[in-house]
């Protein structure tokens, strides 16, 4: 009887094992259209990349600040042990290039003075993402300047060399970009690919009623009107066409 129980359990375990699927579903890809491409989506909406780059610069500056502060603390302790006066210690630390705030002030001034680089950063779709017209003299527009200051790597002389090569130098967080389509882009009628065929171009544009509803502010999330359409974008004109029935 005991053996029978054992065998039954083994058989049961075998049946359960045989019937279960070993496929592991990928939670990141299963909600996306099958032909979704991160790089295409990023090119259609370069601002997604812009903010990613800005966040990267910010994070990197935090690391630089931390490592400088650590070094500074070490040297400071050493100098204090040798009995130097507090102001001499502070002065030496700045001269040794260990004071983050001093470096930051100097570096930001240099960044703002380099107009040629600023113009390039301003009009680059993945960086400033501003129309060329607004980028003739970025220093003239305080809002733009404030935005562009976020691209300054502290303690790096040639920021533009890194930024212009950002597809290599700054890692692309593809999950963050693709998931934006799920949580925001799709419901707000963002296209996910370029229109490539006649059939694509034959699709209708966005429903103006939904567009207007989305443009108006709503006070209750329940009242939000999601766009059920899935769109492609015409590369030349930027016009959207619905591709789902």
């Amino acid at each position: 009887m005991k053996k029978l129980y054992q065998y039954t359990m083994i058989l049961l375990a075998g049946v359960v094992g045989a019937c279960s699927s070993l496929d592991v579903s990928d939670p990141y890809s299963e909600n996306l259209p099958s032909d979704f491409s991160v790089s295409t989506y990023m090119q259609m909406y370069p601002r997604l990349r812009k903010y990613q780059i800005k966040d990267y610069v910010k994070a990197r500056n935090v690391i630089v600040e931390d490592s400088l502060n650590q070094q500074k603390a070490k040297v400071k302790a050493m100098l204090e042990q040798q009995g130097f006066a507090a102001e001499i210690v502070e002065d030496s630390l700045t001269k040794l290039g260990l004071d983050y705030n001093a470096i930051k002030t100097q570096d930001e001034a240099n960044f703002k003075a380099n107009t040629a680089a600023l113009v390039e950063i301003c009009k680059n779709p993945f960086l400033g993402s501003y129309p060329e017209a607004s980028c003739a003299n970025p220093a003239a527009d305080a809002t733009i300047m404030k935005d562009l200051a976020g691209f300054n790597f502290i303690n790096v002389a040639d920021d533009f060399a890194i930024l212009s090569n950002n597809n290599v130098t700054i890692p692309v967080d593809s999950v963050a970009i693709s998931q934006q389509y799920i949580i925001f882009g799709r419901d707000h009628g963002w296209a996910y690919r370029w229109c490539v065929s006649e059939a694509d171009l034959a699709g209708p544009a966005r429903d103006p009623a939904i567009e207007a509803a989305q443009a108006a502010p709503v006070d209750d999330p329940e009242k939000f009107v999601a766009d059920p359409g899935i769109y492609c974008k015409e590369q030349l004109t930027g016009i959207l066409h619905k591709v789902n029935p």
Binding site: L48, Y51, V62, I63, S67, S129, A176, Q179, I183
Partner: protein
């Protein structure tokens, strides 16, 4: 010790057997004593195979007084140190059958210097093993302590070789080694399991032997009271797995050897890593093929035999470390941004990586190198009339990145102060010199101190906690703690160690004390060497001995000079080859045998010189002389003299710390001169019992240039460099002991 004693017995037996054979060949009837001795030895070896329990060992009662003097000692420095002890080593062997044996070695050490404090005295066990030859003598095994050797590039211990070392010295060295369970063979002292299979003759005698060996050993770990999880991980845990296989046929041997050494990493920790901790994981693998040939098997009729030994090895060495560092931790949130399009402000939502810097356990790879090593040597040996000779010439080439830990780490690591360790020095520089450059190499080679001390309130090594005598006030616990019934600590002062050093731990030791060898401090596996090695040994009827050694080696990519860089106007290093030239000659003569006297009067001497032409520009010179003579009846006279000089033409920098804890050069050692004279009599008071009285004189002189607080050489009032300073210590040692072997 007992193992060694038996080895010596074995060597003696084979030597006696050899000489009896020679005696029969010469039809010499005057060797009755030798024959009798041989018979006794045979009986003894029969006795060794008797089943059951057997106890033998040695007992030694002795005193040692060392008087030291130095102009550099502080006024209040103690100058005398005494040892008085009875040391009994017991070897307990139990043979449940003729195939296996349990071997336990115990030490009873009575330190008469602290005898009254000591009360009763515990027994220290220092060797535990279970060994055997099983399965019809096809499988040998060792469990517990063991000594294992593979090949010179895989598992091997590079040993100090001093040509014609007089017995008074070699006996002292053997004793110091034995205190650490070490011996003078090239096998490694390990703990674990070793199994070796040998087939014996196969295929109708075509194949002489097929062997296979597996070794698993724990190289190091830290004592813990309890494991918190199964088989705790500890920062010190290190293991070795070795395997080899070989085949012998037609006098040739072909073998494949593999060694893998690793720190345990992927398991739970017994202790969390601290913010200031850096834990290194070192992984070393070596695979080698060895080939040997001896013509004796195929050409037995030739008066000489010749052959070759060779090995090719490939190594991988990688190191990574765990540390607590700052890590940028990503955390995502949904953020809103605005932009202006067609004059209208628009908003959109995106996923923002809003991480923070936080402290985390990080791992970093520092070293990952692989290298190759190769050596091959040809030998010729034979006997013409009474003259036996062996000449060996080889070539070796080892990459800079080759590393074989099990074959490299020498057992001699020296540098400690053995005698008069309580001396105090007048200046901090002198103390630092002794602590970093190290004390006399000869003292470390030949002397050791073993004592036991009762651990009590006044000498327990407590750090950072209050003990009975802290704060100059008498603790209420003082008298309660002073008497200690059984906590007896055994302490060594010994220049030898069985610990196998990792490469990163070994580097500074390599250049300092080339007692193992200037050119090959880590034996044949020394990284970054290329060149030839020649050895010759001649023995004329055990009357006259001659040995010669010569090494011509180069080390690549070494700083050979500094030159002015015309563009930057700074001195830049010039890389080049460092050439090592080493030679040694030794001569010994048994005047007793030559003059056909019935006693041994062995006179020995050797000279060796090692030089390098770059880097520190070291020169090491060693002069050895000695006499071992049976004077009359049971009395033997033993004497030895040795002078050892190390010169550092480019100076060896000694670094101290300045007030802020930064390293600063305080001195540069240019020369170390050492002399050791040992002389004494040994009286055989009964069979296997000896009384020995010895006098020793040890001189150690260090010459160095002192540096100022700014790390530049000191100048006198005229601005000229100060003359070199000297640190000179001399020690007079008196030793007397009675040794009984049983």
């Amino acid at each position: 010790m007992n193992f060694n004693m038996n080895m010596r017995k074995f060597l003696l037996t084979s030597a006696v057997a050899f000489s009896t054979a020679a005696a029969f060949a010469a039809d010499n009837q005057g060797e009755v004593v030798t024959q009798q001795k041989s018979l006794l030895e045979k009986l003894d070896s029969l006795n060794a195979a008797v089943l059951g329990l057997k106890i033998n060992g040695t007992a030694k009662a002795g005193v040692l007084a060392s008087f030291s003097s130095s102009d550099q000692y502080a006024k209040e420095s103690p100058t005398q140190e005494n040892q008085a002890f009875t040391d009994v080593n017991l070897r307990v062997t139990a043979r449940p059958s003729s195939e296996t044996m349990i071997d336990v070695q115990l030490r009873l050490h009575k330190d008469w210097q602290s005898a009254y404090d000591e009360n009763n005295n515990p027994v220290i066990g220092h060797w535990f093993s279970y060994d055997g030859t099983i399965l019809n003598k096809h499988v040998d095994f060792n469990l517990g302590y063991m000594r294992v050797g593979y090949t010179p590039l895989t598992v091997f211990t590079p040993q100090t070789e001093i040509l014609q070392e007089p017995e008074i010295f070699s006996e002292k060295r053997r004793e110091a080694l034995e205190k650490r369970n070490l011996d003078t063979t090239s096998r490694r002292l390990l703990q674990g399991l070793n199994v070796m299979y040998h087939s014996g003759s196969l295929g109708g005698g075509v194949v002489d032997n097929v062997t296979a060996q597996l070794t698993g050993a724990r190289i190091r770990n830290n004592a813990k009271k309890v494991d918190q999880v199964f088989f705790d991980f500890d920062f010190t845990d290190r293991y070795m797995l070795g395997a080899r296989a070989g085949i012998d046929a037609y006098g040739a041997h072909l073998g494949l050897n593999f060694v893998n050494l690793f720190d345990r990493k992927y398991s739970s920790r017994s202790k969390a890593i601290d913010n200031s901790d850096t834990v290194f994981y070192d992984h070393n693998r070596v695979i080698s093929v060895d080939l040997a040939f001896d013509s004796k098997k195929v050409l037995p009729d030739l008066p000489v035999t010749f052959g070759l030994n060779g090995e090719v090895a490939f190594s991988k060495w990688d190191v990574n470390y765990d540390y607590m560092g700052k890590k940028f931790k990503s955390s995502y949130k949904i953020a809103e941004e605005r932009y202006t399009e067609d004059g209208k402000s628009k908003r959109f939502v995106y996923i923002k990586n809003d991480g923070t810097l936080s402290t985390a356990l990080l791992n970093n790879d520092t070293i990952d190198v692989s290298g190759q090593s190769f050596y091959a040597s040809l030998f010729v040996k034979g006997g013409i009339n009474d003259i036996d000779f062996k000449v060996d010439a080889g070539y070796l080439k080892t990459d800079k990145d080759f590393w074989s830990e099990m074959a490299s780490s020498p057992v001699y690591q020296g540098r400690s102060v053995i005698l008069n360790a309580n001396a105090l020095y007048g200046t901090p520089t002198d103390s630092l010199l002794l602590a970093t450059f190290g004390a006399s190499s000869l003292e470390n080679l030949y002397f050791n101190v073993y004592n036991s001390t009762t651990l009590q309130a006044t000498n327990l090594m407590t750090v950072g906690s209050t003990n009975a005598l802290s704060d100059n006030s008498e603790s209420a616990n003082l008298y309660a703690r002073l008497n200690n019934n059984y906590k007896n600590g055994h302490f060594y002062r010994n220049g030898y160690t069985g610990t196998i050093a990792k490469r990163m731990e070994l580097d500074p030791l390599m250049e300092l004390d080339p007692s193992v060898g200037l050119a090959l401090p880590l034996g044949l596996a020394t990284p970054n060497r290329k060149g030839v090695i020649v050895k010759a040994d001649v023995n004329w009827a055990d009357k006259v001995f001659f040995n010669a050694r010569m090494n011509m080696l180069t080390e690549a990519d070494v700083v050979v000079d500094y030159a002015l860089d015309p563009t930057t106007q700074t001195m830049v290093p010039v890389m080049g080859e460092n050439k090592f030239t080493e030679f040694a000659v030794g001569v010994g003569a048994d005047i007793g045998a030559i003059a056909a006297l019935d006693r041994q009067i062995l006179v020995q001497g050797s000279f060796s010189l090692g030089k390098e032409n770059a880097n520190l520009k070291r020169t090491a010179t060693r002069i050895v002389a000695g006499v071992t003579a049976d004077v009359w009846g049971p009395i033997a006279f033993l004497a030895g003299f040795q002078q050892y000089e190390k010169k550092f033409d480019n100076g060896y920098g000694i670094y101290g710390e300045n007030e802020s804890g930064l390293p600063v050069k305080v001195a540069s050692v240019t020369k170390a001169t050492e002399q050791l004279l040992l002389a004494g009599v040994r009286v055989k008071i009964a069979p296997l019992s000896y009384l020995s009285v010895q006098y020793g004189m040890l001189k150690n002189e260090l010459e160095y240039n002192a540096f100022g607080a700014d790390g530049t050489p000191l100048l006198n009032a005229e601005g000229a460099p100060e003359p070199p300073k000297k640190l000179s210590i001399s020690k007079n040692v008196i030793m007397a002991d009675v040794t009984v072997n049983f």
